[in-house]
């Protein structure tokens, strides 16, 4: 996984709450067996609507999504994270994320930055007033920044320490865990033998 320290890119205001993973990518797009190509399904139901924000040229090349509360609730499909990444998003800002979505983001290298609802409102207003304005998500200092002068927005965001550290270092989770192989093996010797198994000696 690539390291993530700070990213500045065009902010895209998604003025909706409760954007579940079925909205981010509908089930019919989940049949691929690769990790790429999911951008075609991103927000599929809304993409045909000319007034949908991603169809506004001003936000073309957007890479920081700014969404309402409860973004990414619902299904566990990591395809939702891949679709956002395949489209070009590096970070999502929201006041509250679905748990599994946030976990998936951390694993796949998409920064899910949780901020106060008021901050989202201010960034939305800024992006509406100045379409194409950039937003910075700085993982090192844990801050989001947007705008300049007296209207500049700067606020801290929440992300758990462990995920932040892994993203900053670009570390593969599985590699870290395999480093604890001895602990896992030791634990396995203590498991009760009556616990079920799926394979039986014949």
């Amino acid at each position: 996984m690539d390291k993530f320290t700070s990213h500045t890119g065009v902010g895209v205001p998604l003025r909706r709450s409760n954007v579940d993973t079925d909205q981010i990518i509908p089930a019919e797009y989940l049949k691929r067996v690769t990790r790429t190509g999911f951008e075609d399904g991103l927000f599929a139901a809304w993409r045909n609507d000319p007034s949908f924000v991603l169809n506004n040229q001003a936000y073309a090349g957007g890479s920081v999504l700014v969404a309402g509360p409860d973004f990414g609730t619902g299904s566990s499909r990591e395809h939702a994270v891949w679709a956002l990444q395949n489209y070009g998003f590096r970070a999502v800002i929201s006041p509250r994320f679905g748990d599994i979505f946030r976990g998936n983001s951390g694993k796949a290298g998409l920064v899910a930055a949780q901020v106060d609802e008021k901050v989202v409102q201010r960034i939305w207003d800024l992006l509406d007033a100045e379409p194409g304005a950039t937003v910075t998500v700085d993982l090192e200092s844990r801050t989001v920044r947007a705008g300049t002068g007296i209207d500049a927005i700067e606020d801290s965001f929440d992300i758990d320490d462990y995920t932040r550290w892994r993203l900053l270092e670009g570390l593969d989770d599985i590699g870290i865990t395999l480093g604890h192989e001895a602990d896992i093996a030791a634990f396995e010797t203590t498991r009760p033998t009556w616990k079920p198994v799926t394979l039986h000696a014949v």
Binding site: A27, L30, A45, T73, G74, T177, I184, F187, P196, T198
Partner: protein, 473 residues
């Protein structure tokens, strides 16, 4: 201080715990299906890794499979590739698979309990958010993403921050005709779709203890719909009776040792939950959704709410959007909402008890003229069991379609979808925009409401039916 049920099960599975890092949790059972696993197996191959414990892993085909002509090759080539990929991966990595056509094939959350693999005190994960279903047995069970599937395949563990705990106590007994589904829909409407976020929830109280295992699974299934990490119910005699004698249940002396341990899996009297919710079962009624998230629900006897009924700005906007999408007028009695399609099935309500209940209501009636009804068993075994009991005949005589096992119209990934603008009453768990087909409108309902709605063509409960003349139609 004592421990909660969740804390007891959690602590029994901690492989490694270090300050400032998530706990490394051991996984007792890893369930796999075709949609969220291909990229995980690819990752293993790329890194030259193996599946650490194939003997704690089980795969089945459910999300993408057809419910008609399941004995023929899958027509859609992309779906076929995905299913074939699972078969190849299972073979290559030595994972037990129940493919389409196998008697144990079915929705992964129906298959685990039915085999007796789901047992109290376990940790169970699956690349599917409704893994919370298995919590009904007193297990910690939760959904994971594909990167985590790969992690569990490679290490049989997951790094997890310990969630907070919450109790939801449902006092009193449910009135006749009111089910676990109504209970959990009422709870979600009360707590909000984000209300459970960050918590493992323990459901307790008289109404929970009185539920069958199927009813408990329905309640735990929907934990994720209000954002909870997992939902659990302490195991008791109902749990033990359900498990005993199933193919993978402990046998002989092992059974006694297991039960003795399971009996310790109760929240201690002096344990403290981080949050508590108390509700009264005695005043609960059939509950249905009107909107596009599972929290947007009302009693069946109520009217469609309007945006002005909500104090919070976001809720008001969400209500406006939902009413527009659902094509509903505020103030319309829910009972007058006309339904095109009724779906009975899914990991929420696709078990044998659900089908028996639906059949008992539909028997001697006929599905309304402009309404279609789809009955999809949760597993091949449920299908055979239902057919053995003649339930399929009852459904077919009433004009319903009887199908093969799978997720089907719960998520519309296979050909079972509703058309744009079509309205469904569904026993599944998600009423998101487009969930059952692009532009489709979903009302979440209980099994009795689904059956009565099929007969009347508008949202109804069995109390609205005139008695059937059994045997005629």
């Amino acid at each position: 201080m004592g421990k909660t049920l969740a804390e007891k099960v959690w602590d029994e599975h901690v492989v490694r715990s270090v300050d400032g890092e998530p706990d490394l949790l051991y996984v007792d059972l890893h369930l796999i299906h075709e949609v969220t696993s291909p990229q995980a197996f690819d990752g293993l191959r790329l890194a030259g890794r193996r599946v650490r414990r194939p003997d704690l892993t089980l795969a089945t085909e459910d999300h993408n499979v057809p419910t008609i002509d399941w004995d023929k090759p899958i027509a859609d080539p992309v779906s076929r590739t995905q299913v074939d990929t699972l078969r190849r991966n299972a073979e290559e990595f030595g994972v037990r698979l129940h493919p389409l056509g196998d008697i144990e094939q079915g929705i992964v959350h129906v298959v685990g309990p039915q085999l007796g693999l789901t047992q109290p005190g376990m940790t169970i994960v699956c690349g599917d958010s409704h893994t919370s279903t298995h919590g009904a047995f007193g297990a910690i069970a939760f959904g994971i993403g594909t990167s985590e599937v790969e992690h569990v395949l490679a290490t049989q563990t997951l790094p997890q921050a310990k969630p907070k705990t919450m109790s939801v106590t449902i006092d009193g007994s449910l009135p006749e005709g009111v089910t676990g589904k109504d209970m959990v829909l009422a709870l979600i409407a009360h707590a909000g779709t984000g209300g459970g976020q960050g918590y493992i929830v323990e459901y307790r109280g008289q109404a929970i203890e009185e539920l069958s295992m199927e009813g408990r699974m329905t309640v735990c299934n929907m934990s994720i719909e209000w954002g909870a990490k997992a939902g659990m119910i302490a195991p008791d005699q109902t749990t033990f009776d359900y498990i005993e004698g199933r193919p993978e249940a402990p046998k002989g002396a092992d059974w006694d040792v297991a039960v003795a341990h399971w009996q310790t899996l109760r929240t201690d009297d002096d344990a403290v939950f981080d949050r508590e919710i108390v509700m009264d079962a005695t005043t609960m009624t059939p509950f249905v959704t009107w909107g596009t998230n599972p929290g947007q629900g009302v009693p069946l006897g109520a009217n469609v709410p309007g945006p002005e009924d909500f104090d919070d700005v976001q809720d008001r906007i969400a209500a406006e959007n939902a009413l527009r999408y659902m094509g509903l007028e505020a103030g319309t009695p829910m009972r007058e909402v006309k339904v095109d399609t009724v779906f009975v099935g899914s990991c929420t309500n696709g078990r044998i008890e659900d089908l028996r209940l639906a059949a008992s209501i539909i028997e001697g009636h006929h599905v309304a003229a402009d309404t279609r009804m789809l009955v999809v068993p949760g597993s091949a075994r449920v299908r055979l069991q239902a057919e053995g009991e003649g339930l399929d005949v009852i459904f077919k005589q009433a004009g319903a379609e009887w199908r093969g096992a799978g997720c089907s119209m719960c998520l519309g990934m296979n050909p079972d979808t509703i058309a744009p603008g079509e309205r469904s009453a569904s026993t599944s768990n998600r009423n998101f925009e487009g969930r059952q087909g692009k532009g489709g409108r979903t009302h979440l309902v209980s099994v009795p409401v689904a059956a009565a709605t099929a007969i009347r063509g508008t949202l109804s409960s069995p109390a609205d039916l005139t008695p059937a003349t059994v045997g005629s139609n």
